[in-house]
Symmetry: D2
Subunit: 135 residues, 4 copies
């Protein structure tokens, strides 16, 4: 079943500079990562050892905010400005890398960090792959 | 395949007052609706007849913002406050109803409004069903 | 000096159902509260006793998200829907009340909670005052 | 009167790598720009000539989202990662430049675009000044 993201992209009548299937996959990865990071930040707050997870909470909050904003910007095609998309994708890949590294460091201890690290890795890869096709 | 939302909820060790499968389905419906509304607002801007779609753009923007915020609040379980979740779900159902009605009015003419109306209806239903289990 | 919010409202040519000075004051209170809550959540994370502040972090995150979304919705006048504004203002007042109460409980110990509680109280009052003029 | 932003920063007990007065000014510029862009997008939708302003609406929406996210990230100091702040500030300056240019092109015709262009210019300058102190 195609995601709502791909269904909506398929209804767009004007031309889009990027491959639609790839673009939909990136947007889905961004939304999944934002959701995982929001949930992981809260799961960290519920741990007895929250004092050792404060950097993880912070990185999760940054990554969630940046992924949500990047998904929104990539969902707009009217008056497209490659410069904004490109620099935002760079910032987003950096945030996903930092959050993926941080969560991976706790993955052996906390299952929520393991699942979140996977979502961050997948999102970072999707952002970098899209960037590679834009230059 | 379970969504990332459900996988993350399954890692949460503390108790949650709501059924996890249902909660994951609501959060997924909220994120799908936010994505559809963001895309529909932009697709409306690309139409020749944009002047007849300005209310649709506005309702889409409201609905996207409210659905994203509601998904975030429902993804947090630490220090849960039923009062905030409930009143926000009421506001979200109202926004989905308004946006679903507005998009449905253009669904015969614009395929993006048709797909978006479906996402709004599904999300409104999911919010109301969850509200019914909270009282 | 008028805030940017009021300057922008003054440029709006169409009629607005609400008093512009009051509306600008509410939007400014919402943005100030969102900012205070975002900063307070992070300041809580930096405290040695973060384990006793996890509910405060969570309430701050909810309040920041809801205030930002409410400020956006109130800044839109095209195709105005009183029903959405009203229900969102109710949810926002509830979030400000909860966050103001939570922060007030830590105000004697943490200056960031004292300043944030004040911002939440002012914002809750502004939301309720606006609601009173809408019915 | 100091802004809430500066009052909150003054309560932060741990060290911050950046000058607090400058940081508060950047965050205030980001929030003011986000507010102006949200209002300008809506004011464009209310114009008879909206068909000529669709790129302006889109750029306003991007700029509002990116400024709000950047203000949030800069408001967090726990587990600070200069790499994320720097790349996000670059993306934000690019968005403010694009939106400032677009709005300036309509400033003679639409007062909301004139006020918004000023907010974008001020915000772009604040982002670039902060970036200069970070390298």
């Amino acid at each position: 079943m195609p995601s709502t993201t791909k269904s909506m992209l398929d209804t767009y009548l004007e031309s889009i500079n990027l491959d639609r299937a790839r673009l939909a996959a990136v947007i889905d990865a961004l939304n999944a990562c934002a959701q995982a990071c929001t949930a992981c930040a809260d799961a960290c707050l519920s741990e007895d050892m929250v004092a050792e997870l404060t950097k993880c909470v912070r990185t999760n909050l940054d990554c969630a905010d940046i992924c949500t904003t990047t998904a929104r910007v990539l969902s707009r095609h009217t008056g497209y400005d490659a410069n904004i998309s490109r620099s935002l994708l760079e910032a987003c890949a950096a945030a996903c890398k930092a959050c993926g590294d941080e969560c991976a460091g706790h993955a052996g201890m906390h299952e929520h960090c393991r699942v979140c690290a996977d979502a961050c890795r997948a999102c970072e890869r999707a952002c970098r792959d899209l960037l590679a096709t834009m230059s």
